[in-house]
Amino acid sequence: MKKLLSYFIVFTLLTFVSCEKDSDHDHDHDHHEHELMTTLTIAMTAEGNTSSFTFRDIDGDGGNEPTQDTIKLSANTTYTNAITILNETEEPAENLTLEIAEEELDHQFFFSSNITDMTIAYADSDANGNPIGISSTITTGAARTGTFTVILRHEPNKTAEGVSAGDITNAGGESDIEVIFNVVVE
């Protein structure tokens, strides 16, 4: 009986050896996001002039509010667009556009706008001849304001009806990016 009790006491004491959660490992391999997308930039070029518009959410999902630019375009102009996605929590910032280009078959950008006379077209294609959307063109019409939505889908069904023409309805997959810019066409 005494043995039992002494065992219990010894065991109990032993388990109290360390009373604080140790954090040695997190200095070696830190817990942070390796594939976090923090920044989306669209560089729009017309007649040799390039303007860049950025959506930036530096602290990731949740946390502080993101910052975003208003897209300013000239009326009746065609722009060629190049999208860059960065993880700016890394030092130096990691260019995730490269990962998307590498997995071109599994990614597609979708663009939409409530400005009816603005047309958007893909300017690139993957190995199967389907669009990716890293490069695209925008042709503006009359001066007005509205919104411009950029969605990046991971593992969409690119062969589903309308998807390669830029219609997201049947695409499926999951959204890695969904950003709505305000647009001023002047």
């Binding site: 009986m1 065991f11 109290f16 009373c19 817990h31 949740g62 509010e65 999951e174």
Partner: protein, 781 residues
């Protein structure tokens, strides 16, 4: 079959062989053996205590048959000293195999469990139960009949138990309590897994247990962590003294998911030591709903356990138990979404995205892989016939890896990787004197939870180390037909926390909580047909780590979840009342009422705020504390129609109310009605060499009502419509040349109804499971 003693010619031949064998190989030993021993037996019904007439008693070694008379009596004369195996079978009972050593005239008192096949008929048992609280049991034979099911699915057969599911991963919810509020004890050890997530199933193989018990009500204070309400006990039984190796093996096939499973359990108890080994392997591919495949919903499991026991000097009862649970569960591919727009898209679809007409056994991301190991040492020191001390020490390791669909090969890297060590130590003293009993105990539980680095994703749950120590004191007193019990418990928790922030900084927190629980119970055994009990309990629960510290996007539920470090412990009163009554021999009624008001009830409340991220806008959920009330009742009624036929109805009613905001509580099950019509053949059937007994046919139906108290502001979509499912089951025991077989043919959702269930997260994306036909073959040796 004949009444009385019959020794067939066959058995004479067998004896001749045996004698020749003995003469040749063991000369000089057996000459003096006198084959004049008598074995007398009395067989009783466990439930009613009455003698069982016409029990067929088969002696394997002598090939002789006997039958009991009206006093439940049989006699086997002229036995030689040695070991014998008896197989007892009786209409309505599970066949029982019994080992007896006969070295002198022996008298046996045997009980047979009638209720096993007659479902959960109410048997008012008196004090046989482990606790005085309202208990419902699932016996080994029922567990094996449902070998295809997970622990939670096995539990669902009990009234008042529902499932919270994410497709293949299911966890039980009892009277509205789940996760951190529901304690599951495996082998008496508090299951240390990831309790906080609704897609975290308990890491226990139900086939390792001989009995699963739900203690309803509140105040079973000797069990660690379960003071908020009901407790689930998963228990292997003691190994019976039996010098030969015996066991059971089971194979099953199920049509939905084309699943196969094998389970085997063997055991032996020599003079020195008893051992039991068990292994379970299951593999299932994509399941299907009524109309389409649910791609990537396969699962596999490989579990095993070892149990050892021995008695030292008649005073020390020692046991060692080790078990391993390994499972991989696929999550419906179409349920993996990136943001709220995707979720809304998913709602609008008849058939989920990624649905293909191809069946596959493969499990791709998203999936979860879980490994759980338990080692337990227990020793019980019997001081005298009335008191004992039990010491238990246990170690658990839980590893959980969850895989998401990710870019450039990172799909192979878990998106969440948690490792949890836990130590549990328990000292318990029990003493009886006259009509009284006292229990006193000290418990210590240490948990070390670590997010393994290298996932490349910020952990939702922090790292933590917690020490929880507790002591309790319970007394009970029997006074005539009354029983009174009172208990007190104190829990102290020390918890050290490390929170990882997105900017790579680390926040440290320290939690200290001290909680009291108290309970009182009165039970009145009015007669062997009537029992009433009432209980009252108060309990506190410290907030869980997820409730305090989780922060970030929970992509699986498309929401940003925020803990609150200022949460207080939640506390509740619980009142229960139960009444069980058998009217006229042929009708019984069992009812259970409960009401549980909470103050500081912690739950995830949707906020009006929508937060913008690069992935789109997400709704924000915060852990909030409210005043809440959960109440309900469970009903079981049964009516015997005529010999062998009965009808049983179960109804489970539950309501949960957020009194602070005057809203329904989320994650409270819908009301459920279950009915079954059973017919059991009163006699055995002889077909050639095969003897069929306990032939039983069941037709069953389940109706789940629509929850109407949840508003659209509380959830992404309204609760789904009511549904009705039809099932059927056929079982029979088969005896062939002294071997026992059993066949179980089971059909679920026979009408292939398409439906969605409120507590299954997949309801946002797809229909629930379609028709499933399964076949189980059980062999006892």
């Amino acid at each position: 079959m004949q009444v009385g003693k019959v020794i067939s010619k066959l058995s004479l031949m067998w004896w001749l062989n045996k004698i020749i064998f003995v003469l040749i190989f063991i000369p000089g030993v057996v000459w003096a053996q006198n084959c004049n021993k008598n074995l007398k037996g009395y067989i009783f019904d466990t439930g009613t205590g009455k003698p069982l007439e016409a029990v067929a008693v088969f002696v394997k070694e002598t090939n002789a048959y006997y039958a009991t008379d009206s006093k439940g009596f049989f006699i086997s004369n002229g036995l030689c000293p040695g070991h014998y195996h008896f197989i007892l079978s009786h209409v309505g009972c599970a066949p029982k195999m019994l080992h007896v050593s006969v070295f002198s005239d022996t008298v046996l008192n045997i009980t047979m469990d009638h209720s096993v096949h007659l479902m959960h008929s109410v048997t008012v048992k008196g004090h046989h139960n482990q606790s005085n609280h309202k208990e419902e049991h699932i016996h080994e034979s029922e567990i094996i009949d449902q070998a295809k099911e997970t622990l939670a699915e096995v539990l669902e057969s009990l009234n008042g138990v529902s499932l919270i599911k994410n497709g293949g991963a299911a966890k039980p919810i009892v009277h509205g309590m789940y996760g951190n509020r529901l304690s599951i004890l495996n082998n008496g050890i508090p299951q240390a897994g990831q309790q906080w997530g609704n897609d975290h199933a308990p890491e226990i193989d139900p086939l390792s247990a001989n009995q699963i018990t739900v203690i309803k009500g509140s105040g079973a204070l000797e069990h660690f962590g379960g003071n908020m309400g009901s407790i689930i006990l998963v228990e292997p039984q003691k190994i019976k003294i039996e010098p030969h190796i015996h066991g059971k093996s089971t194979y099953f096939f199920e049509s939905n998911g084309r699943g196969h499973g094998l389970h085997a359990k063997v055991q032996q108890h020599t003079k020195a030591i008893g051992w039991r080994l068990g292994i379970t392997a299951k593999k299932r591919g994509d399941q299907n709903s009524a109309n389409y495949f649910l791609n990537n919903t396969g699962s596999d499991e490989l579990n095993y356990f070892v149990q050892l026991q021995n008695v030292y000097k008649d005073k020390w009862y020692n046991s060692i138990y080790f078990s391993a649970f390994n499972s991989t569960i696929g999550v419906l591919r179409g349920a993996h979404i990136g943001n709220l727009t995707d979720l809304r898209d998913a709602f609008s679809r008849e058939v989920p995205f990624f649905t293909e007409p191809n069946y596959s056994y493969g499990i791709e991301a998203p999936k979860q892989r879980v490994n759980h190991y338990l080692t337990k040492l227990r020793t019980k020191r019997v001081i005298d016939s009335l008191s004992s001390i039990t010491l238990t020490a246990a170690f658990q390791l839980n590893q959980r890896n969850e895989f998401d669909v990710r870019r450039v090969g990172r799909t192979e890297i878990p998106a969440m990787s948690l490792r949890q060590y836990s130590f549990y130590n328990d000292l318990k003293y029990q003493k009886r004197w006259r009509e009284n009993q006292l229990k006193f105990g000290i418990q210590l539980n240490v948990l070390d939870n670590t997010n393994l680095p290298g996932t490349g994703i910020l952990p939702l749950i922090p790292d933590y180390l917690s020490y929880q120590s507790a002591s309790y004191f319970i007394v009970n007193k029997t006074h005539g037909k009354h029983l009174l019990e009172a208990g007190l418990r104190y829990d102290y928790m020390y918890r050290s926390i490390l929170v990882f922030n997105a900017d790579r900084s680390i926040d440290r927190y320290l939690d200290l909580f001290g909680n009291y629980s108290a309970s009182a119970l009165w039970k009145y055994n009015a007669s062997d047909k009537s029992q009433i009990s009432a209980g009252f309990a108060y309990a506190m629960r410290p907030p869980g780590v997820n409730e305090l510290y989780s922060f970030g996007l929970h992509q699986g539920v498309s929401g940003i979840e925020e803990g609150d470090i200022n949460l207080d412990p939640e506390s509740s009163f619980k009142g229960t009342f139960s009444w069980e009554q058998r009217f006229f021999e042929s009708f019984y009624l069992s009812s259970f009422f409960y009401a549980q008001p909470f103050s500081n009830y912690i739950y995830l409340q949707p906020q009006e705020e929508i937060r913008l991220t690069i992935r789109g806008a997400f709704p924000v959920f915060k852990y909030q504390q409210i005043k809440a009330l959960i109440y309900g009742s469970d009903w079981v009624t049964g009516l015997d129609l005529f010999e062998g036929a009965n009808i049983e109805c179960k109804y489970s009613y539950i309501q949960g109310w957020d009194q602070t905001n005057d809203l329904g509580l989320v994650f409270i099950p819908a009301n459920r009605w279950q009915g079954s019509l059973n017919y059991e053949l009163a006699s055995t059937l002889q077909l050639g060499q095969f003897t069929f007994s306990n032939l039983r046919l069941q037709l069953n139906g389940t109706y789940v009502a629509k929850k109407d108290d949840i508003l659209l502001v509380q959830d992404f979509s309204l609760p789904p419509d009511a549904y009705y499912l039809l099932g059927a089951k056929f079982t029979t025991d088969i005896e062939l040349e002294g071997n026992l077989w059993r066949i179980v043919l089971d059909g679920d959702n026979l009408l292939n109804t398409s439906y969605r269930d409120y507590l299954n997260r997949l309801r946002y994306f797809s229909d629930d499971l379609g028709r499933n036909i399964s076949l189980g073959i059980i062999f006892e040796f």
